[in-house]
Symmetry: C2
Subunit: 401 residues, 2 copies
């Protein structure tokens, strides 16, 4: 972190939330690896979790607990994913929760657990229990940035975003932290995100707007198309702003929704930017589809294509690879009407490539937008992806499980 | 080619078929780039073509022509894909056919056309017409290996396989040639395959058995999951063996089917082995699925995973990446019953990784088999894939469109 970033992060404060992160000895390097977010009062909670069949023990525990709609704390370890660890793994996740709930003096059911790191190895639960004391004692209203750092694994930088808005007569804070990046160690790219707000918000509204924002942000990025056993996004709304509750029909809803989406999209972009070996951030937009599902299918076909991703790494405006990826799905479209642009520069129109040198200049940028127009309807989808570089191969081939 | 391979290839002879390949000047290096396979008599024909929305002009032409069930010649150029070339592209494909049919003195409708190479550039049709004379004049019963060489683009070696079997009281030859390999130049991995047999075979039987073999071979391999605009597989059966016609109920069918499948699977394996930057050939087998579609979905999720492919390049028996890829699809299975093996060595059983050093030794081999048992049913699917290496990134990033 640069000094300026530290200053920015130090000013992060979400009323009613405390944070802390300590080094418990899970990571061999001695860095922060055990983190805690705690609300002064029970908060409403919403969650989005990996759809992988192999769900890590903490994911299984959280999915059950958030059904009640309330949570007060989230304890997170990095360095070990507690995934593919059998019955002991479930017991370890429960023990991790208990170590924190007892020290916080709250119901155990109000604690959520997240883990990220190497899979297939048991959690060093004794180290976690031992570090629970200092972890809880050090909780601070200014501790959220420490958590953003403590949940990192192979991330190159901490990811934290804060927005403020007005809703129900009060100023509301929406703050998000995230980790992404890496399949080096851990085995898999685990994405963890925690969104904190002091807003009072209707439960159904919270669940709906969080799911919508997740679909538009974290579910619309790809580094390598691989889905982790541990992916977790949790939102806590503790209501200490004492606003009149936000609901889908309340006046402040639009602003709140925009702030939330802005936080989550910014975090999602940071995750792609920090993707393993990524040198470029590429926004793939598909417009003019009959359904958003069609647009999504084509956008992902382009964003996942290794041929497209290596072309971006090579800074080559290779329209042939992009249209071929677009044409490879089951979504029908007339190939003559497809238009392809990089930023405002046409690459392919009326069934032909468009000659020109401007595109090659744009390819040298660190971020750029690819636009595909299908000419079939009004629906669109956007996905962020990264290029495929030598560093990606290095990171993932040289890591030993 | 080694001397031994040359000797083997020189002995390739399919009764009633002639071949030749010449340098027409399409390839700047001056290599063979225009090839012709011709049957002495019209043959029954079956074809399997790319499902990409962007189909190259020769694919569109062939798909129409094979509806009649008869063909007598296939003319193939390498160095230019005649794809994304608009109306001129269709006219060029037709002109290429006409140049050959006139010289062969056969109906134009009996000629099929295939192209592979750079996309978005017009075919140098004058060069092709000019080379048509020497191409036809040089046709020879021993010319099939020259065609296998002439259709290559970035392939490191020609691919040709021959099997013999008995059917309908005669000895039958089944010979296949193929090209795969490359997305360097051309823009895309175009796979071309031509299967020649002197068998007399019922038309419906031919179409059925060719489609089945294609699904089990070329449609069950992946180098990078990208689908070309030009992928073409054509089978010609000229009947000069004068066997009593093969049908699905005839005695010789099983042997013919096995010979055909063996030819096509061997070609498919060669294509993966020759995949860009490939250092390893990996057979991914999924067993115990409820449907073969389920098995296929999971097998491809593993075979396409960049995390799995880089782990193989790094010779790391990373079971976590493999089971996570298996769990990432919509196919349900109980995670506790999944078993994962590399060759005969268990990597993951009863929800846990299995410690041991034998797997790491197997990973050093040039080819190996991954077996996933779902324990859900009786269906299976097998796919061949390659690892993801630095050379893949080099080849595809450094190529300029």
């Amino acid at each position: 972190m640069t000094a300026m970033e530290m200053t920015m992060h130090d000013s992060v404060h979400v009323p009613g939330f405390l944070g802390n992160s300590v080094a418990s000895g899970i990571k061999s390097g001695g860095g922060r690896d055990l983190s805690l977010i705690s609300s002064e009062v029970p908060a409403r909670v919403a969650g989005v979790f990996t759809t992988n069949r192999f769900k890590a023990a903490p994911v299984v525990l959280d999915m059950e607990r958030i059904k009640k709609g309330r949570a007060q704390a989230v304890v997170v370890n990095s360095g070990n994913a507690n995934a593919a660890t059998g019955d002991e793994g479930h017991r370890d996740a429960a023990a991790m929760s208990k170590a924190i709930s007892e020290r916080l003096g709250i119901e155990d059911e109000l604690v959520l657990v997240a883990s990220t790191g190497i899979i297939g190895e048991r959690l060093p639960i004794e180290k976690i229990i031992r570090a629970g004391g200092p972890l809880v004692e050090g909780l601070s209203a200014l501790g959220i940035p420490a958590v953003a750092e403590g949940i990192m694994t192979t991330d190159r930088f901490p990811k934290i975003e804060t927005r403020r808005c007005s809703a129900g007569g009060k100023e509301i804070t929406v703050c998000g932290i995230a980790k992404g990046a890496g399949m080096i160690e851990p085995n898999m790219a685990t994405m963890l995100t925690f969104i904190l707000t002091d807003a009072d918000i209707d439960q159904a509204c919270l669940a709906g707007v969080f799911r919508e924002s997740a679909d538009r942000s974290f579910n619309a990025i790809t580094v390598d198309g691989c889905m982790s056993t541990n992916d977790t996004a949790i939102m806590l709304a503790n209501g200490v702003a004492r606003n009149s509750p936000v609901s889908e029909t309340s006046g402040g809803f639009a602003g709140f929704r925009e702030a939330l989406f802005d936080v989550m999209e910014s975090l999602a972009r940071s995750i792609v930017r920090d993707g393993e070996g990524a040198t470029k951030l590429i926004e793939v937009v598909v417009e003019g589809a009959k359904t958003s599902g069609d647009a999504r299918t084509i956008a992902y076909a382009i964003a996942h294509s290794n041929l497209v991703k290596t072309a971006f790494f090579g800074e080559d405006p290779n329209w042939g690879r992009i249209i071929s990826a677009a044409g490879s799905t089951a979504v029908p479209f007339p190939t003559d009407s497809l238009e392809l642009y990089i930023e405002d520069i046409p690459l392919f129109i009326h069934g032909r490539g468009v000659p020109g040198k401007e595109a090659a200049e744009i390819m040298k940028r660190a971020s750029m937008r690819i636009l595909v127009r299908l000419g079939m309807g009004e629906e669109r989808f956007r996905v962020y992806t990264s290029d495929l570089s030598h560093e990606y191969v290095d990171i993932n081939a040289l890591y030993r499980s």
